[in-house]
């Protein structure tokens, strides 16, 4: 299969993910704010779970899913089980494709919902749109009425939905690990393999640019159309009343998506991972080596995450800064593969070559990749930050009394510090698990654990690989939980 066909598969799959996911996002945005506060938090956790769960782990758990299903069916004690098993085995590719599409929808929905919830309110409010609709009722022709309403819809209700759809498309179109481990065609898999196989990419002619063109068609209008309005206040929550039983029905989607993306993959490899953990623990040398490489990976990702978070926090405050942030975020919007390949090309220049495959080129690439995500997080943090409370906390921090200063520190942690800290954790997590950049630009003297695992995952499921995958995912999370728990000691001097 050539690049054009692989790109076609990705395009259709991403469009399907947007078509199926956007209505769910619009529906969740209306429902989530109406939940009781305690349930709302839980609902957001469920919603975010598919987005945060590493695709490397789900891809590994679901690899050869069609064939696994066929085998599972063959064990069912039914007269037609053997025939059914054969039927499924022969259609294993279709099973894998359906599964991939479902996983993409589950991963795109949190992105869309986040954008719709925290994007700045459109210039035409719901009320203004309603008034316009009322005014147009006098217009006799339906078609005429529709055309008159169109610009208002465009600058009103549709604007944020288009932005959400654009980002959902990009998120799905960049997908690499899931497609690769499920054995489905995608432009990312084709290009990654071509790069790894040292095929002459430039000889592919215009087709090599096809994925970039597809993304540019989304990135550029998004950037031009929505960039200027970033930083504005989001729209208030809807006020309609929805009965509780309906809300419970809505929760079913969240639970199903979380189960498919996180619960089931964990269950599928959990038992093997436990067995492998015992083997890993018995081999002290391997465990020590694994922990050392994990720590190195975390450290590099942490530096990139902290740099992007500090930079985006600075830039997001002013109009000019937001402009700069948008410009520097653009390369990251093209995804890790195109970004990595471009940097590899740039680093071949003689005067830049000494940086190639050093920690610094790797960190730089991670920074560029994480910047749009950091920017999105900053806009969300800005939207939810209680400005008055923060100001009062700042005032209290200048008190001469030590107890009050300590209380101010706690207050400021609760009002903004915690959110920034977990944003740092999230960015570190994304950077640490980034497979493509690590493969293309990872330091020559470092074994990137995600790359190592990705290579091993293609040989089937092994207990030690399962255990290492789980540890890889858990290690940075544990580090951040420990740091948060010990914040009184660790961060006292940061917020003094």
């Amino acid at each position: 299969m050539g690049l054009v066909a692989a790109c076609g598969w990705s395009l259709v799959r991403s469009l399907l993910a947007v078509a199926a996911g956007l209505p769910i996002c619009l529906w969740l945005v209306r429902r989530l704010p109406l939940l009781p506060a305690s349930m709302r938090k839980f609902a957001w956790v469920l919603l975010a779970a598919p987005l945060l769960f590493p695709p490397l782990l789900s891809g590994y758990a679901y690899s050869s899913a069609g064939l696994q299903l066929a085998e599972a069916v063959s064990h069912v004690r039914l007269p037609a089980a053997t025939e059914l098993s054969r039927w499924v085995a022969e259609r294993h590719a279709a099973v894998d494709e359906v599964l991939l599409c479902l996983l993409l929808v589950a991963r795109a929905v949190p992105v869309g919902t986040l954008v719709l919830t925290y994007a700045p309110a459109p210039p035409v409010s719901r009320e203004a749109l309603h008034c316009r609709q009322l005014a147009l009722e006098m217009t006799p022709q339906r078609r005429q009425r529709w055309f008159a309403l169109l610009p208002f819809m465009w600058h009103g209700r549709w604007r944020n939905a288009i932005a959400a759809a654009g980002l959902m498309f990009l998120w799905s179109f960049h997908e690499f690990e899931l497609a690769s481990l499920l054995g489905r065609p995608a432009w990312t898999v084709w290009l990654f393999d071509a790069q790894a196989g040292k095929l002459l990419l430039s000889a592919g002619g215009w087709a090599t640019w096809l994925p970039a063109i597809c993304q540019a068609l989304v990135v550029v209008p998004l950037w031009l159309g929505f960039g200027r309005s970033l930083g504005g206040a989001p729209e208030g929550p809807p006020t309609e009343h929805i009965p509780l039983p309906k809300l419970w029905r809505d929760a079913c989607y969240l639970m199903a998506a979380a189960a498919l993306s996180c619960g089931l993959p964990l269950a599928l490899i959990g038992r093997e991972a436990l067995r492998g953990a015992a083997q890993l623990a018995a081999d002290r040398t391997q465990l020590a080596w694994f922990m050392r490489e994990t720590f190195s990976g975390c450290l590099l990702a942490l530096i990139a995450a902290a740099t992007t978070l500090v930079a985006s926090a600075r830039l997001v405050k002013t109009q000019a800064g937001r402009g700069i942030l948008l410009v520097v975020s653009m390369p990251g919007l093209f995804g890790p593969l195109l970004l990595g390949l471009s940097l590899v090309k740039v680093l071949q220049y003689a005067w830049l070559n000494p940086l190639y495959r050093t920690p610094w080129s790797f960190i730089f690439a991670l920074c560029l990749l994480l910047l749009p995500r950091a920017a999105l997080l900053q806009f969300v943090l800005q939207a939810i930050r209680p400005q008055t409370g923060v100001y009062l906390g700042d005032l209290l921090a200048t008190a001469s009394d030590r107890t009050r200063r300590s209380a101010a520190r706690e207050l400021r942690w609760n009002l903004g510090g915690a959110a920034q800290f977990w944003s740092l954790g999230l960015l570190t997590w994304w950077g640490y698990l980034e497979l493509t950049i690590a493969s293309l630009l990872g330091p020559a003297t470092m074994v990137s654990i995600p790359v190592l695992l990705y290579n091993q995952m293609h040989f089937g499921k092994y207990a030690v690989v399962s255990a290492m995958t789980c540890l890889t995912v858990i290690a940075p999370a544990v580090l951040f939980v420990l740091a948060a728990a010990g914040r009184h000691v660790l961060f006292r001097w940061l917020w003094r």
Binding site: K198, D394, P443, F491
Partner: protein, 342 residues
């Protein structure tokens, strides 16, 4: 007053960042002592060997593996790309011809140590640029619930039968590339291209790697497939109904050794030589024969220590075609397949 305290964007965080940068610089300077090994052999099997070397010698190894889908070609290409600034010290290839190609380009440093001496002439370079060890065979893996493991039946299907229930890995990479190279050598370019086109027309499934072809047969989605002996043993150990038939080209089997070479320009020549000796030793060949991959030892070895399943493979291996003179065919096959894959 309050504006002075800007939360996380503080001197403290900057100090933390600078501290982390210092730690990274220090850590990576320490790592410069490690031996960088580019390894095209499956990580699940080679990792144990490299760890054993670390334990035995105290020399730290940083392996860089190839992906399953782009086996060996990726690392050969990377070494060619890095020829002016080599980052790799030792290349452990999972086949022979890519290494022969590197030797021809002058990228390899000759070394004839004690390990080199025990490998038969057919599997090493006379000038000592590379040496082969621990081979596997190209085979047809057959699902015994679907068809009998009979070479004649498979040949018949490949010649003019329906191949919609048969599979092969992408021929541009790994051992399938060696297989195609050998076919070109014995058949010629025209016949190979006609065979390639004909098998695809009759439905032969092309998948990412040999482990994927094995999975299809093991699950019953295909009746038979081209694969390697190490992949077959993974399915066999998992209790799948599979058997093998050796793939032959004009009567000869395809026995593909791993190969090892030192990269010219390495600054860690002593450590690199130690690793080459270790890989070419009887101990490593036995370890790989006793591993899940059941690789066939090439050097002299105490046969009583070989697992029972490896002994027939060793006999097939002795019937193998000589792969050393196939570089021209390999390059022609790569050129042709690269143009096909666009």
């Amino acid at each position: 007053m309050a504006g002075r305290n800007k939360g996380p964007v503080s001197l403290g965080l900057l100090a933390l960042l600078l501290g982390a940068i210092a730690v990274v610089s220090w850590t990576f300077r320490q790592r410069d002592d490690a031996l960088v090994v580019y390894c095209a052999h499956d990580a699940v099997f080679s990792d144990d060997v490299l760890r054993a070397f670390e334990q035995q010698t105290g020399i730290r190894v940083t392996p860089r593996y190839d992906t399953e889908a782009t086996k060996s070609l990726g690392l050969v290409g990377l070494l060619q790309e890095e020829k002016d600034h080599p980052r790799c010290d030792v290349f452990w290839n999972n086949e022979l011809l890519g290494t022969v190609d590197l030797a021809k380009e002058g990228l390899l440093q000759p070394y004839r140590g004690p390990g080199f001496a025990r490998i038969p002439e057919r599997f090493k370079d006379a000038d000592g640029h590379w040496a082969g060890f621990a081979a596997r065979l190209r085979v047809f893996i057959v699902n015994t619930e679907r068809m009998a493991p009979d070479a004649a039946l498979i040949e018949q299907r490949l010649e003019n039968g329906d191949l919609s229930r048969a599979a092969i890995a992408k021929p541009l990479f790994g051992t399938t590339l060696t297989h195609y190279t050998l076919l070109r050598h014995f058949w010629g370019d025209e016949k190979l291209r006609a065979w390639h086109a004909g098998t695809r027309q009759r439905g032969l499934q092309e998948v990412a790697g040999n482990s994927a072809t094995k999975d299809l047969v093991a699950a019953g989605a295909c009746d038979f497939a081209f694969t390697d002996t190490d992949d077959y043993f993974v399915a066999k150990d998992a209790g799948k109904p599979v058997e093998i038939v050796p793939a032959r080209v004009t009567g000869k089997t395809i026995c593909i050794p791993n190969s090892v070479a030192i990269i010219r320009g390495t600054k860690k020549i002593d450590a690199a030589q130690k690793l080459v000796d270790f890989l070419l030793s009887e101990e490593t060949e036995l370890r790989l024969a006793q591993s899940a991959a059941r690789q066939v030892p090439l050097g002299s070895i105490d046969e009583s220590r070989l697992p029972a399943e490896v002994r027939p493979l060793a006999a097939w291996g002795r019937e193998g075609a000589d792969l050393r003179g196939l570089l021209v065919d390999r390059l022609a096959v790569i050129d042709w397949l690269k143009s096909e894959s666009r």
